[in-house]
Subunit: 216 residues, 2 copies
Amino acid sequence: MLRVERQRLHDVVVEHLRGFITEGILPPGKKLNERELCETLGISRTPLREALKVLAVEGLIDISPNRGASVSRMSELEIRETFELISGIEAFAGELACERITGQELSDIKSLHDAMVVSKNQNDLPGYYQRNQAIHDLINKAARNSELRQVYLSLNRRIQALRYLSNHQAPKWDRALRDHEEMIEALEARDGKTLSEILRHHLLDKRDAIMLMVRE
Amino acid sequence: MLRVERQRLHDVVVEHLRGFITEGILPPGKKLNERELCETLGISRTPLREALKVLAVEGLIDISPNRGASVSRMSELEIRETFELISGIEAFAGELACERITGQELSDIKSLHDAMVVSKNQNDLPGYYQRNQAIHDLINKAARNSELRQVYLSLNRRIQALRYLSNHQAPKWDRALRDHEEMIEALEARDGKTLSEILRHHLLDKRDAIMLMVRE
DNA sequence: GCTAGGTTTTTTGCATTCAAAATACAAAAA
DNA sequence: TTTTTGTATTTTGAATGCAAAAAACCTAGC
């Protein structure tokens, strides 16, 4: 039978705050006053503090002793390094995916790709980015390694706010679409090496675009 | 001037418990009674609970609502997947290290390798494993990506207890030593692809050895 | 007007307390 | 004897209270 586990308060709080941070409602550098947050969330300080500890381990906020917490403000170096790491992990996921992906998953990806092209032609930027993200997510899932997946998701959350910003800018369409077409070809050919190369450089391109945005 | 930040209690607790878990003093599956731990550590429940939340995010313990915490007992699948992920990350670190390693670091690794061979000839297993670990750690550092490093260390902590167990067993000397020699050759030749291949398979071999141990 | 020093206020860290859920236990019924 | 049900105890989850550190403020002196 399905066990109904009442969610604990601090878990709910973690999810809320995570959302606020990744969606940019709580911007980088924002000071998190405990009493203030308690009032808006309608809870006491104990569960809030537990939630803050969790978010700190996840790298979404910084806590300095006796000074309190603030939303992490990633330095350019941290952004570079995080993207580099993600590029490596995603490339590895691509290799694994080539060994393990099912026909169903592959055709799901193709459909998403087609939908993405439609979004592009309609100049629907949010739709485009959403489908783009979904494709990468599906490849990651197809790697069939839940530890890898957890790390991937955790790292992505940290740069989510940045992505949010850059999603208002149009990408280099031709390059991006060509990359995706080649990715699908490599997947169909189960060519892990090629796919991982494409993914790696695709990510590093994305990084460069975002680094430009951040600097301005 | 260096700011002396008095460590917070829960940070100290995290370090202590982490040590207890990775050194096997608190074995997998061990139930962690809050009151008991508070008494042995001489603190109240608030900082302890904060520490437990942190360890849960790190994956070292499991917390189930209203049931309390226990040291994570990794399933065979989790072990397989974690090693696979580490193999991918370490392979990537090797590629980066080939681009970025300094002469000094390279010669440090060579010294460690020589010391490791001596340990082996003296049948000094702890010494052998310690140097072995140190070599992998140096390669990882040479990748010059602190985000990668953090993830690497975090994942390694999770399998540390298992490593501890397997360290009482003698490895396949000839294979392990040959691997290490080839690793150093690849590093000297700055041959990233080759190094990453060696590292990946070296890790998967290690995994197989540990999987055998775990099953017994 | 600006700085230095001290005082007040706020905020954080931790202990304690209260409430709710889970577990252990014992007595009664099958 | 085994199962079930009601009660007591333990254990966890969350709120409150208290002390110490940091920040804000205010006054005196230049």
